[in-house]
Symmetry: C2
Subunit: 118 residues, 2 copies
Amino acid sequence: MTSTADLATDFVAMLKEGKHEEAANAYNAEDIVSHENMPGPMAVCRGREAVKQKGEWWVANHEVHEFSTEGPYLNGEQFAVHFYFDVTVKETGERRKMHEIGLYTVKGDKIVEERFFY
Amino acid sequence: MTSTADLATDFVAMLKEGKHEEAANAYNAEDIVSHENMPGPMAVCRGREAVKQKGEWWVANHEVHEFSTEGPYLNGEQFAVHFYFDVTVKETGERRKMHEIGLYTVKGDKIVEERFFY
């Protein structure tokens, strides 16, 4: 069984290379739950397929000027990742530079929850 | 009642001014639980007084060259804070530069849990 530290290190190494979809395919549990900091139906997203679609939506709707990833930061069966990105929201033209913290919870060899803070 | 966002903003503003003890006095719940990323008896610390003593131990045992605080990053009743510090551990003389993520959980008007990732 992979330790949380090993999983986190490998997962974040993939994110740093821009391989977000590969990282999710390798480590997201079938029943992963994803929490965003927003009201309404986008707040919680359930299941690997729904999380994948959210990722595809994000990629399709943002022009990325810069995206950097730092971490992982470890504690027990959870780990945190620090993201910084500079994007243009395609629909509105708004330029958005922001920091975000991702908090991941591991059970067995898979990520069962991701939660984003901003 | 204070919202989590308001509490987080005020708490982190105090941390940015170096007022760690004032921030803890204002917002730590009587029964706060503090989780460090280490094995053994220091892993979990229970109660405001024990957390205060841990803070005092840290201050007494580190020479701080730089300490910066970014955030808060919000999601529901939790918020995250990004710390960077450059310190010398007094006992060993070791110079340590590290990033750390603090995850705080709010209930009512108080912080009931803090959890540190590194």
